[in-house]
C-alpha cells in the first residue's frame, strides 16, 4: 500500500492531472453559467472558466513545448483581458442595478420588446 502510494507519487505530476483539475474548474464554471440567474454569479463563473483555460495554456506550454513561450503569453494576455472584461462588466452591472434595481439575467428584457 505504502509502496503503491510512493510509486504513484514518485516522478513528476502527470499532465492529465493538471488537465483534470482545469476540466473540473471549467465545467463548474459552465454549470454556474447555466444555472445561476444573478449577473454577478455569471461573471464569477466566467472567471472560473477563463482560469481553467489559462491553466491549460500554461500546462501545455510547459509540458509539450518547454522552450517556447506562446502559452505563457497567451495566459498573460488573457489575464489582462479578463481584467478589462470584468471591469467593464461590473460597470454595466452597476449601471443596470441603478436603473432597474435588479441584476437577474431573466428580467433584463426591456430592450427586447
Amino acid at each position: 500500500m505504502g509502496d503503491l502510494l510512493i510509486n504513484f507519487l514518485s516522478g513528476p505530476v502527470p499532465i492529465e492531472a493538471y488537465l483534470g483539475v482545469s476540466l473540473i474548474m471549467f465545467f463548474a464554471g459552465v454549470y454556474g453559467f447555466l444555472s445561476r440567474k444573478s449577473l454577478l454569479m455569471i461573471l464569477i463563473s466566467v472567471e472560473l472558466m477563463l482560469n481553467a483555460a489559462d491553466i491549460n495554456f500554461i500546462v501545455f506550454n510547459r509540458y509539450l513545448y518547454p522552450g517556447h513561450m506562446e502559452g505563457f503569453f497567451f495566459a498573460l494576455f488573457t489575464i489582462a483581458i479578463a481584467a478589462c472584461e470584468t471591469a467593464v462588466a461590473i460597470a454595466i452591472i452597476i449601471n443596470i442595478y441603478r436603473n432597474l434595481s435588479s441584476v437577474q439575467a431573466g428580467e433584463l428584457n426591456q430592450m427586447k420588446e
Binding site: V30, F33, L34, I42, A105, K112
Partner: protein
C-alpha cells in the same frame, strides 16, 4: 329571292331600336313600330311563299334555295358555322306561320298590354323573338339552328318573365329556360357527334342522300346502339325539350305566367313546334340512318299526347288547359313524323310527314286563336279560373263564335282545318300500327271532350257574379280573332299535299273515308258528352270526380311530375351536390391552404423562442451543439 333577308333583319332592327330607346319612346310609337315592321315582313313572306311555290318547282320537285350564305366562324377545314337562308317548302311554310301569328299577336297586344309598365320592352322582346324564330326556320345548317334555338329560348325566358316583379313569373321563366337548356345540352352533344362523323353542319349536305358522308359511322356503336341512333336521339332530346315532350314538358304549363299573347305566339304556335320542325328538317337523316329513333319519337309523341290530354281534362285554369292541349297536339305532330316514310305516292309512306306539317300549320292558327280568345276572356273577367267564368256568350259574341270555331277545329269537325290535318295523321298512324292508331283516335276524342268542357264552362253554364259586367273586346283585339278564325275555317282546303312533302314533290291526299267517319263520330260523341256534363250546371262532374278521386287527384296534380323535378333539383342537386361542394371547398381545400399558413405561423412562433435574448440559453445551446458536433467528429 334576296329580299327574304329583310324578313329576318327587320325584326332585329326593330328590336335594336326599341331596345335601345326603351322608355324614351312613347308606347304608341313603339307599338306602331312593332306592328308596322311585322306587317311588312308578313307581306314579304306571303310574297316569297307565292313566288316560291309558283316559280321554283323544277320537274315536280321544289328547289332548295340558298339566297344568302356567309361564313360566320370557321372551326377547321371542314367545320364552319354559316349564317344563311335556306328556303324550301317547310321553311317557307314556317315563315308564313310565324309572321302571320306574330303580326296578329302584335296587333292584339296593342290593346291587351295597353298601360302596362314596360310596354316598349314588351314590343322589343316580341321583335327579338320573331327575329330568332325566323332565323331558326331558315337556318342553312344545324349550328345556325342551334344559335337561333338558344336565342329563341332566351326571348321566351324574357317574355315569360315579363312581369318580373311577380315571383311566380320569375320562377316559371327560370324553369322554362333551365329545362330547355338541359334539353339543348342533348342537342349540342348530338350536333357534336353528327359533325364529327359527317364533317359538316350543312342541312343540304346532310339531307342530300349522299351515303358517303355517313360512311364513317358504319359499324360504330356504343352500348349496342349504333352511333347514328345515339346522335339523332340526342338531337331529338333538344327538340323534345323545346316541344315539351314527356318528361321535359313541365316548363310549358308554368310558362303561362307570361302575358297571354306571348303564350299564343311562343307557347302555342311557333316556338314549341321548333322540335317538330327540327325533326322534319333532319327527316331524311332520321329516316335513313336512325329509323329506330323515329319509332321512339312516335311512341314518345303518342304517350305525351295521351298524358297531356288526360291532365287537360281536369285542369281549371283555362290557360293551363290550353297549354296541356298544346302539348297533346304537338304529340300528334311527333307521331305523324314518327310513323312517316319518304315519298311513295302509292303506299302513302310520306303521308305522316305531310300530315304533321299540315297539322303544325293549322294548329298554329287555331291554337293561337284559342289563346287570344282566352286572353280576351281573361281581359274581360280578370281571372284565369274556369269557375269565375260561365255564361259569357251573351257579353262577348265575337269571342264566343271564334272560340267555338277553334274548338271545332281542334276537335276535328268537318270542314274546319283541324279535321283535315288530324285525320291525315290518324290515317298515317293506322297504316303504321292499328293499335297506335286506335290510341290516337281515343286521344282525339279526349281532345274534343276537354276542349268543349272548356268552351262550355266559359261561355255557357252558370253565370258567375261579376264585379263589373264583362264586355266584348275592342277592335284591335277582335280583329286578330276574326282573322285567325277565317284562316281556321278555310285552311283545311289548302292543297297542302302539293306544297309541303317529305321529298318536296307533289303528293295526292286520299282521305280514308273510314278513318274520317270514325273520327268525326268519336268527336261528336265527345262533344255531346261534354255538352251534357257542362252546358248546364250539373252534379255529374263532381260525382265523377269523387268516384275516380284517385286518378282525378293525380291528374289535377299533373301526375306529380313537377314534384319529382323539384325533388331532383332542390333536394339532390342543390342539397346533395352543390352545398356539399361549396362546403368542401371552404372547409377542406381552402382550409388546407389556410392551414399551411397556420402551421407555418405556429412553427415560427415556436422557433421564435430560440431567439430569446437569454445569454444562458444561447450558451446552453452552443455548448450542447459543440458537444454533439465534437462527438460526431470523434466517434462517427
Amino acid at each position: 329571292m334576296q329580299y327574304t333577308l329583310l324578313i329576318i333583319l327587320l325584326p332585329l332592327l326593330s328590336f335594336i331600336v326599341l331596345g335601345l330607346m326603351d322608355s324614351k319612346l312613347k308606347p304608341k310609337v313603339a307599338g306602331a313600330i312593332g306592328v308596322s315592321v311585322l306587317g311588312i315582313i308578313t307581306l314579304l313572306s306571303y310574297i316569297s311563299a307565292f313566288e316560291y311555290f309558283y316559280l321554283h318547282k323544277i320537274e315536280g320537285v321544289y328547289e332548295k334555295l340558298v339566297p344568302l350564305h356567309i361564313e360566320w366562324i370557321r372551326f377547321n377545314e371542314f367545320l364552319h358555322i354559316d349564317l344563311g337562308i335556306l328556303l324550301d317548302p317547310i321553311s317557307i311554310m314556317m315563315l308564313v306561320v310565324i309572321t302571320t301569328v306574330s303580326l296578329m299577336v302584335n296587333i292584339y297586344s296593342l290593346e291587351y298590354m295597353k298601360g302596362e309598365k314596360g310596354f316598349q320592352r314588351y314590343y322589343a322582346f316580341l321583335s327579338l323573338f320573331t327575329f330568332s324564330m325566323l332565323g331558326l326556320v331558315v337556318a342553312t345548317n344545324i349550328f345556325q339552328m342551334y344559335i337561333f334555338w338558344e336565342l329563341v329560348g332566351v326571348s321566351s325566358y324574357l317574355l315569360i318573365g315579363f312581369y318580373y316583379t311577380k315571383p311566380s313569373a320569375v320562377a316559371a321563366s327560370k324553369k322554362a329556360f333551365i329545362v330547355t337548356r338541359f334539353a339543348d345540352l342533348g342537342f349540342l352533344i348530338g350536333i357534336l357527334f353528327l359533325s364529327f362523323y359527317t364533317k359538316t353542319f350543312d342541312f343540304n349536305i346532310l339531307n342530300s342522300g349522299d351515303a358517303s358522308i355517313f360512311a364513317s359511322t358504319a359499324g360504330v356503336s356504343f352500348m349496342g346502339i349504333s352511333v347514328m341512333s345515339w346522335t339523332m336521339g340526342l338531337i331529338f332530346i333538344g327538340g323534345a325539350g323545346k316541344s315539351a315532350m314527356f318528361p321535359l314538358h313541365i316548363w310549358l304549363p308554368d310558362a303561362m305566367e307570361g302575358p297571354t299573347p306571348v303564350s299564343a305566339l311562343i307557347h302555342a304556335a311557333t316556338m314549341v313546334v321548333a322540335g317538330v320542325f327540327l325533326v322534319a328538317r333532319l327527316f331524311p337523316v332520321y329516316h335513313t340512318y336512325a329509323p329506330d329513333v323515329l319509332h321512339v319519337i312516335a311512341y314518345i309523341g303518342a304517350f305525351t299526347s295521351l298524358f297531356a290530354a288526360v291532365i287537360a281534362c281536369v285542369q281549371t285554369d283555362i290557360k293551363r288547359v290550353l297549354a296541356f292541349s298544346t302539348i297533346s297536339q304537338i304529340g300528334f305532330m311527333m307521331v305523324g313524323l314518327g310513323v312517316s316514310g319518304i315519298g311513295g305516292h302509292e303506299g302513302h309512306e310520306g303521308l305522316g310527314y305531310m300530315a304533321s306539317m299540315f297539322h303544325l300549320f293549322t294548329h298554329a292558327m287555331f291554337k293561337a286563336l284559342l289563346f287570344l280568345g282566352a286572353g280576351s276572356v281573361i281581359h274581360a273577367v280578370h281571372s284565369n279560373e274556369m269557375n269565375h267564368m260561365g255564361g259569357l256568350r251573351k257579353y262577348m259574341p265575337i269571342t264566343n263564335i271564334t272560340f267555338l270555331i277553334a274548338c271545332l277545329a281542334i276537335a276535328g269537325i268537318f270542314p274546319f282545318s283541324g279535321f283535315f290535318s288530324k285525320d291525315e295523321i290518324l290515317a298515317a298512324t293506322f297504316q303504321f300500327s292499328p293499335y297506335l292508331g286506335a290510341t290516337m283516335s281515343f286521344i282525339a276524342g279526349l281532345t274534343a271532350f276537354y276542349m268543349f268542357r272548356l268552351y262550355f264552362n266559359i261561355f255557357w253554364g252558370k253565370e258567375h257574379k261579376h264585379e263589373h259586367t264583362p264586355h266584348e273586346s275592342p277592335f284591335t283585339m277582335a280583329f286578330p280573332l276574326v282573322f285567325l278564325a277565317a284562316v281556321t275555317v278555310v285552311a283545311g282546303f289548302l292543297p297542302f299535299g302539293k306544297l309541303v312533302t317529305a321529298d318536296r314533290s307533289e303528293y295526292i291526299i286520299h282521305l280514308d273515308p273510314i278513318v274520317a267517319t270514325v273520327s268525326i263520330i268519336i268527336a261528336v260523341l265527345s262533344i255531346t258528352l261534354a255538352a251534357l256534363m257542362y252546358m248546364k250546371e250539373k252534379e255529374t262532374p263532381k260525382q265523377l270526380a269523387t268516384t275516380f278521386s284517385g286518378i282525378f287527384k293525380m291528374a289535377s296534380n299533373r301526375f306529380y311530375i313537377d314534384e319529382v323535378y323539384i325533388f331532383i333539383t332542390k333536394k339532390i342537386i342543390f342539397n346533395l351536390v352543390s352545398t356539399p361542394i361549396a362546403w368542401f371547398d371552404r372547409n377542406v381545400i381552402d382550409a388546407t391552404i389556410n392551414n399551411i399558413g397556420v402551421v407555418t405561423q405556429w412553427t415560427s412562433h415556436k422557433t421564435k423562442r430560440f431567439q430569446s435574448g437569454q445569454v444562458q440559453q444561447y450558451a446552453y445551446v452552443f455548448l450542447v451543439g459543440t458537444l454533439i458536433i465534437a462527438a460526431i467528429m470523434l466517434f462517427v
